[in-house]
């Protein structure tokens, strides 16, 4: 790529980096992993920059890479991964203890959701994507998005982690 395209890519990445890391965090509960996933997505975007920059919705491309890269990571490390009970620290954890517990409980509850439900919940209820946009990112039907998001919400309502993990 020439210098102009590199500069263009740099602007593109700076503008979306934080949001993509936050999406990764919502999917993994791990800030370092989230940053790795975001880097993977941007590296792939760079490798296909000529196409990505002309795409109608480059954000959907990035989100899809993050969602799929994390899914692939699950496949690769399924045998060796040990799930810990301790939720990773948040970088911006400058708030009070009660609020911190509330956050940790929500992360824990999200991590207990099956991956498809978790992705649907984060995309629909945090990013406020429409069902159609969510389906595009997840690579599934709108009906599937509806059912995944609905099941995810139902599980969160009754999640013992949320009920016990913080102050009422």
């Amino acid at each position: 790529m020439d210098a102009t395209a590199d500069a263009e890519f740099s602007d593109f990445m700076h503008g979306r980096w934080s949001q993509l890391v936050r999406l990764g965090y919502g999917l993994t509960g791990d800030l370092q992993l989230a940053e790795d996933l975001a880097q993977t997505a941007f590296a792939r975007a760079y490798a296909s920059w000529a196409r990505v920059r002309r795409a109608d919705n480059p954000d959907a491309y990035l989100r899809r890479v993050v969602v799929n890269a994390n899914r692939s990571r699950f496949r690769k490390v399924r045998v060796g991964e040990v799930l810990t009970e301790t939720v990773p620290d948040l970088v911006a954890a400058t708030d009070g203890t009660d609020q911190r517990h509330t956050r940790d409980a929500l992360v824990g509850a999200l991590m207990e959701l099956p991956y498809g439900q978790r992705a649907a919940v984060v995309l629909r209820y945090w990013l406020d994507l429409t069902e159609t946009e969510t389906a595009l990112v997840l690579g599934c039907s709108v009906g599937n998005v509806k059912s995944q998001a609905s099941r995810g919400l139902t599980k969160l309502r009754t999640s013992p982690v949320l009920l016990e993990g913080g102050p009422a």
């Binding site: 490798a47 920059w49 911006a92 945090w126 949320l162």
Partner: protein, 371 residues
Amino acid sequence: MSVQDEHELRARLGALLDGIEPRPAPVTRVVRRGRGIRMRRWISVAAGIAVIVAGAALIPGFLQTHRVAPISQLHYKVTVTPLGTNAKGGVVGAGTIGTKRWRVVVNRSQGGGCTSQLYLLTCGSAYIGSVGPREVSLDSASAGGTQYELGPVGADVTRVVIQLSNGTVLSLRPVSAGGKRWVAVAAPLRAITRAVSYVGQSEYQYAIPFDTNGAAGFITWLRPGQAGLPVASRSVGSGELDGVSWHAVVHTGPWGYCAVFSDGSTCVPASSASQLLAGRVVAPFTCSRLYKSSSRKAMEASSGIAAVAPDVKDVVLQFADGGRLRIAAVSVGGIRMLGYAIPPRPKVVRTLAYGVHGQLLQSGSAAGWGC
């Protein structure tokens, strides 16, 4: 606490995720990874095509119409066909290798990818970015026993001359397609030895390629009379990790710096090498996954190369479990580098750089190690 409705969930997710403050965007590192991905795609395309050709060799019926004639080291004949200034049907390069006709086609609908059949390479007009008015950017691909060079040239470039190992000189006139001016050529593997670009009637730049599995990789373009780096190869690291052997060799020459890994390679133009450190003491600049040679199954482990400051003797990587890995730096083509291989876990948490007298020069972050 519990989540009762969608509105409440949105508010809680917003409070959770909007409160995350990531580190600054690591643009340089991402760009390095992106370039690595792009190079591996080329290699994959070439390898895939080689498999198809090898498979075809087992089917006599297929071979009756598509036989690939073996071409000896110097006894081959390559020609290029003049095409005019505007591509017809997207054809930006055509000619013969022996009795076979080859073509290179630029197709806007192909986007940023390339496909290949025997003696035909088709690439999207977006595959290679734009170049400066006097620049040439050639990318290579190989299929069976044939290599292709394709790339855009700037508005001032009048022709590109390709020299072959048997003394043949091919003159390529730029052909317009998909909004760019292109040159393209095909030749037997390892046959291309030099490219020269012309602005007006004068030689403007020349390039000596680095051999990437038989295909010529043009990385550094030099002005006439400019010698470039002397040819040398040096191992910057080797070993075994989880039963998998790895090695990293840096080849310097007029092409620049080319790092060859157990599985892949990355090249850096000579003009960019001084920017690798960008003021840092230690700078990992390229990385690839380590592969098990028997199954080709990707391991999570990484193998890579880092550039270090001139006064760094060795670097110690400190892992999350307290383990340490000391890696010696070596001088290659005027800069110091080291090769490494690390497992996915435990993570590297700190980088310690030591000088020639064993003094600690820097205790830095773990950023950039592994991929």
